[in-house]
């Protein structure tokens, strides 16, 4: 018998399935099987000119800060998530974030960085560090909506746009690692936007809290975004376009 049309599923059935570990296993197997640290072992390693390598190390160090923030954030959100399905989804996201951090640290090692933790401390953008601290505070307050907004809409949208842009101009190994991370990020941004969109319809007061979070964090996020894109050699028009992309999710939720 032919399988029923996926699009005919009841919304609750669809959500139950896509938030599950079962779905996650089936999804990540497609693009992680046979990879080591996010890339195929046979992908040729290019030798980078010194200046390019130096820029890449700085960018990767800051990706590590973002991924550490996301790892700690996703793990902390499990405790305050409102139901079993969101807790299970966040468990899958926590695994994803841990994998991203490990893949970026491994790439730093391949680029000759013997002590990545020390290098990250030296090269960290102050705005990104401040964002990470504020995200941790929001999780600690137990405000599910505000913390999820900071993590899965603001941070994930910035990473999604940055990684896309970077992947287009990166060396083969870095590109492969980034493309794998982007595939995970699709689930994370979608989860955050949809969960908050549903919640905003039921809780009008949430909009005020999210707007306050956005007003507070926008400057840090956009400054981090700008630094990263400059380090990648982006033009002014590219930076403007990517900032618009980053803001689209925020606009769809009604915070233009």
């Amino acid at each position: 018998m032919a399988e029923p049309d996926l699009h005919a599923l009841a919304h609750e059935t669809f959500l139950e399935h896509v938030h599950s570990f079962e779905f996650w296993f089936g999804a990540v197997r497609g693009y992680l099987a046979g990879r080591e640290f996010g890339r195929h072992p046979d992908t040729p390693v290019e030798s980078l000119p010194d200046a390019e390598r130096e820029q890449l190390v700085t960018v990767l160090c800051n990706y590590c800060i973002g991924e550490t923030a996301a790892l700690e954030g996703a793990g902390g959100l499990i405790r305050i998530a409102p139901n079993r399905a969101t807790k299970v989804f966040l468990a899958t996201q926590t695994v994803d974030e841990g994998r991203h951090l490990e893949a970026f640290l491994h790439r730093l090692g391949e680029l000759g960085i013997a002590d990545p933790e020390a290098e990250i401390r030296v090269r960290a953008l102050p705005e990104l560090r401040a964002f990470k601290e504020r995200l941790a505070e929001l999780v600690d307050t137990g405000d599910w909506g505000a913390a999820l907004f900071a993590q899965n809409v603001i941070l994930e949208s910035m990473e999604f746009a940055s990684f896309h842009h970077h992947a287009r101009r990166a060396d083969a190994v870095t590109r492969e690692v980034l493309l794998g991370v982007i595939k995970d990020e699709r689930r994370h941004i979608g989860f955050g936007e949809n969960e908050l969109g549903r919640r905003l319809k039921r809780d009008p007061g949430l909009g005020r809290r999210l707007r306050a979070v956005r007003d507070e964090l926008d400057r840090q996020v956009l400054a981090s975004f700008d630094h990263t894109l400059r380090a990648l050699g982006s033009t002014v028009s590219e930076r403007d376009e990517l900032s618009r992309e980053y803001l689209q999710a925020v606009e769809r939720l009604g915070f233009a």
């Binding site: 049309d5 669809f14 959500l15 497609g30 699709r186 941004i189 979608g190 969109g197």
Partner: protein, 89 residues
């Protein structure tokens, strides 16, 4: 298009979209950028920029799912008359 007109059916094939379990892959494909033309059974997910495919021709008001980002989408007529998708929370 009048609702009474019979919708065209499509046999969905696997286009190599590897971000969902194998049984659902035929419902999705990668977007190739602004020059990519969408078929009458396809719309672009506004959240994650993946092309969502349906086994039947899409019409305004249809609901479809993007499994890559877990969004429910409503098909609408865009400014240029082309079908677009809006997130329906």
């Amino acid at each position: 298009m009048a609702e009474g007109v019979r919708r065209r059916r499509y046999e969905l094939d696997d286009r190599g979209f590897d971000e969902v379990p194998p049984r659902y892959r035929r419902y999705y494909r990668r977007w190739e950028g602004p020059s990519d033309s969408l078929a009458p059974n396809e719309v672009l997910c506004p959240v994650c920029k993946i092309v969502v495919r349906s086994p039947r021709e899409l019409r305004e008001g249809d609901r479809i799912y993007c499994m890559a980002c877990m969004s429910r989408l409503r098909v609408v007529a865009g400014d240029a008359g082309r079908l677009e998708a809006r997130v329906e929370y």
